[in-house]
Amino acid sequence: MATDSGGSVAQPDGVSGFVSDWASDQRAFKNVPWGKAMMWIFLLSDTFIFGCFLLSYMTVRMSTTETWPNASEVFALSFGGEPIPLILIAIMTFILITSSGTMVMAVNYGYRKARAKTVMWLLLTALFGATFVGMQAVEWTKLIEDGVRPWGNPWGAPQFGSTFFMITGFHGFHVSVGVLFLLIVARKVWRGDFDTEKRGFFTSRKGRYEIVETMGLYWHFVDLVWVFIFAFFYLW
């Protein structure tokens, strides 16, 4: 059977299935639609971008002659009493990880064509994403008020501020773009574009519920990257 998302071709399992897919005609990844394949490859490329950013961060952290500011003090917040280290970032991380869970729910309901529920979970995901970006803005503001600039800061190596703003900024940009696309996809689901297979503006291809999953891939990727940024930046 011929479909865009792939028919049901019986496949051998395991390694021999892998080999037979790659030795076959037409498609190397059976049952993977074009858009999803493209997203995976894009994410691979994007991984290299983030990888280069993080490796550069590690390099300048080693090359600089001045001391590196202490993350748990710099990123502490006090609510009246003692400063609590990393409290804001812990909440942010929790929110972003939660949004991956809500995204999974959206994908799940998308494939069941439950439009209202899909939209609900998509919007919830977008809301978490927007909250994350908002809290990041708060964090930036606080750091800027404390005197952190891309070219210097009161506590030591100027590379602290430059890598921080650059990498969290680049990640925050990814989250913002994600939120935007979550809203666009939610709108499409709401209008029923994927039931009528309306053509997408960007892709000029027919819209299908797979798009929710493709969107989800991007979203989970952005979360995963955050875990690394969190570990390298705040815990090291």
Binding site: M1, D25, W34, L44, M166
Partner: protein, 603 residues
């Protein structure tokens, strides 16, 4: 049931992907300007790339004038010379070769050769071109801003790239970095399309191991580009921040014009690592498509199946993989840890193995072939010779101990011009001549083609062979003039003048090529749909040149690999990929060839 790849008509499995209806353009603008058709995009890419490439060619003349006849041209100052060098190198490598091989040939050939109607996401593919054009315009704009374009060398090494002593260290370098970032964004949009089209949108019967090597070369090169450009992107972002915001990613504490600058604690070596992590794969981004195209030209014009097809494919893949772990061979003299040099010299020499294997296979393909010395064939052979030449000097430079005295001499300039300058350009010419009848539907002029080949091929050697010798004498690279340097003999000066005269002549001779292409596109005699009697799908299209959607109402089905030339028992000396075994005209005057032993009927 395992997948069954057809040899006979009855084996054909149903299509897995339903026909997608293409976007149908109605107006002139959507057909030829904002076109989503990969073939039109390919031509737009090629014209833009060649146009900007001509700018780089003119810059090389200006440099040669200065090197050959120092103190003669008042308008070439030392600053201007550095700006010429930088723009020449960057344009040639990125805006000409990368764009032409991947954006030009990739767009034209991938869908046609794998039997697809278009790229998977034509709209994104169209955006790719327009962003590329924007990148080119920004690059051109940098030549007209105050201070001029950057003169930092195409490697853009900091700290000097952004310090005020370097020409173009103001707006010039910023626009250069912006242009590179745009190029990468645009390329990514196209590149994702090429990769997914090859992986997921082939026609029935087209398995990966039946694809022409051209597609393999472009495919692997695109993957390299998608993984290597990120490093350049990151480098460009960080250097822009250093320049604009005054961060210190790449900038150590440094004294500029007697004053301590505000920079502090950055790592210039980091930029070199990022740059060459991109820069070395870049060499293969322009070489692998060349490898693929040459394989197809040789097989077609020698009427012989490519020798060791599987080996050729794996060699491409392995070279692609290895190209990511050799980058620091460009940094032997950078002050990095010498043990690194040992590692990178080893990996560099290992890469020579699959590369040499490809050369042997090309030669074995020609061995006892029925060689037609057509113009594409001449260029293909020219490529092999030149590539071997540049490859051998590469073995010298790959060894850290040999590289240390040779680095930053004209020997390096000679090496990389042979291997990634002249060699890819020869393939490009060969490929343009080869596919010209398909793209325009007309034949080019053979005599002009012959003249063009011999002038270009011999001329390239007259230009670049002497540079090896100059390099061994110690003539440094990137020097505006030598005046009375003691170790440089008088003969070197004369030789330099000779090289310059040849370079100008050969450069001007390219007018023959341009004239031939433009004139033949309008006035050439109508070409046969398959003038070279080739097997691959692009020659089997119902219309010539292929129309929108490429293949008419029915997509072709593929029954064989791309290299069935001179098959015993067949009447013709080639069998197109879309002819099933039982329909091949045989020498007895009937139809059909014996089924291969491995063939079992479909379940």
């Amino acid at each position: 049931m395992a997948y069954f790849i057809p040899t006979a008509a009855e084996d054909v499995a149903p299509a897995e992907v339903a026909e997608v209806d293409l976007y149908h353009p109605h107006s002139f603008v959507t057909k030829y300007v904002f076109s989503q058709d990969a073939k039109v995009i390919a031509i737009q890419y090629s014209f833009t790339a060649i146009a900007i490439g001509l700018v780089a060619l003119v810059l090389s003349w200006l440099m040669r004038l200065q090197l050959g006849f120092p103190d003669t041209f008042a308008f070439i100052s030392a600053e201007a010379y550095y700006q010429f060098i930088t723009m020449h190198g960057m344009i040639m490598v990125i805006y000409l070769l990368t764009a032409l091989f991947l954006g030009g040939f990739g767009n034209y050939l991938i869908p046609l050769m794998v039997g697809a109607r278009d790229m998977v996401f034509p709209y994104v593919n169209m955006l790719s071109y327009w962003i590329y054009l924007l990148a080119v315009l920004v690059l051109l704009a940098s030549m007209f801003v105050p201070g001029g374009p950057t003169g930092a060398g195409w490697t853009l090494y900091p700290p000097q790239a952004i310090l005020s002593g370097t020409p173009g260290s103001g707006a010039g370098i910023i626009l250069m970095l912006v242009s590179l970032a745009l190029f990468i964004v645009g390329f990514t949009m196209g590149g994702l399309n090429y990769v997914v089209t090859v992986l997921q949108a082939r026609t029935r019967g087209m398995s990966l191991m039946r694809m022409p090597l051209t597609v393999w070369g472009i495919f692997v090169a695109t993957i390299l580009a998608l993984l290597a450009f990120p490093a350049l992107f990151v480098g460009a972002v960080m250097m822009s921040l250093d320049k604009i915001l005054g961060t210190s990613f790449f900038m150590p504490a440094i004294v500029e014009f007697g004053e301590l600058s505000d920079y502090d604690g950055g790592s210039p070596l980091l930029f070199q690592h990022l740059f060459w992590f991109f820069g070395h794969p870049e060499v293969y981004i322009v070489a692998l498509p060349g490898f693929g195209i040459v394989s197809d030209l040789l097989a077609t014009h020698a009427r012989r199946n490519i020798f060791g097809y599987r080996m050729m494919v794996w060699a491409i893949v392995i070279i692609g993989g290895l190209s990511f772990i050799v980058w620091a061979h460009h940094m032997y003299v950078s002050g990095m840890n010498p043990y690194f040099g040992f590692f990178f010299a080893t990996t560099t020499l290992i890469i020579a193995v699959p590369t040499a294997l490809k050369v042997y296979n090309w030669i074995l393909t020609l061995w006892k072939g029925n060689i037609h010395l057509t113009i594409p064939m001449l260029f293909a052979i020219g490529f092999i010779v030149t590539f071997v030449n540049g490859g051998i000097t590469g073995l010298f430079l790959g060894n850290a101990v040999v590289d240390v005295p040779l680095s930053d001499t004209m020997f390096v300039v000679a090496h990389f011009h042979m291997v990634m300058g002249v060699a890819p350009i020869l393939v490009i010419f060969g490929a343009i001549y080869h596919w010209f009848p398909k793209i325009t539907g007309r034949m080019f002029n053979q005599t002009l083609g012959q003249i063009h080949f011999w002038v270009t091929f011999l001329g390239a050697y007259a230009i670049f062979l002497p540079l090896h010798y100059l390099g061994l004498l110690g003539v440094p690279r990137r020097y505006y003039e030598m005046s009375d340097t003691l170790f440089i003999p008088e003969s070197a000066v004369t030789l330099n003048a000779f090289v310059s005269v040849v370079a100008l002549t050969v450069g001007v001779a390219q007018v023959i090529f341009l004239f031939n292409m433009i004139w033949s596109a309008y006035k050439g005699k109508k070409a046969d749909p398959n003038p070279w009697r080739a097997t691959t799908l692009e020659w089997q299209t119902p219309e010539n040149p292929p129309a929108h959607g490429n293949f008419g109402p029915e997509l072709p089905v593929v029954y064989r690999w791309a290299y069935d030339y001179s098959v015993p028992g067949a009447k013709e000396d080639f069998i197109p990929q879309n002819v099933p075994q039982e329909e091949v005209p045989n020498t007895e005057g009937g139809l059909g060839l014996p089924m291969p032993a491995a063939h079992q009927p479909a379940e």
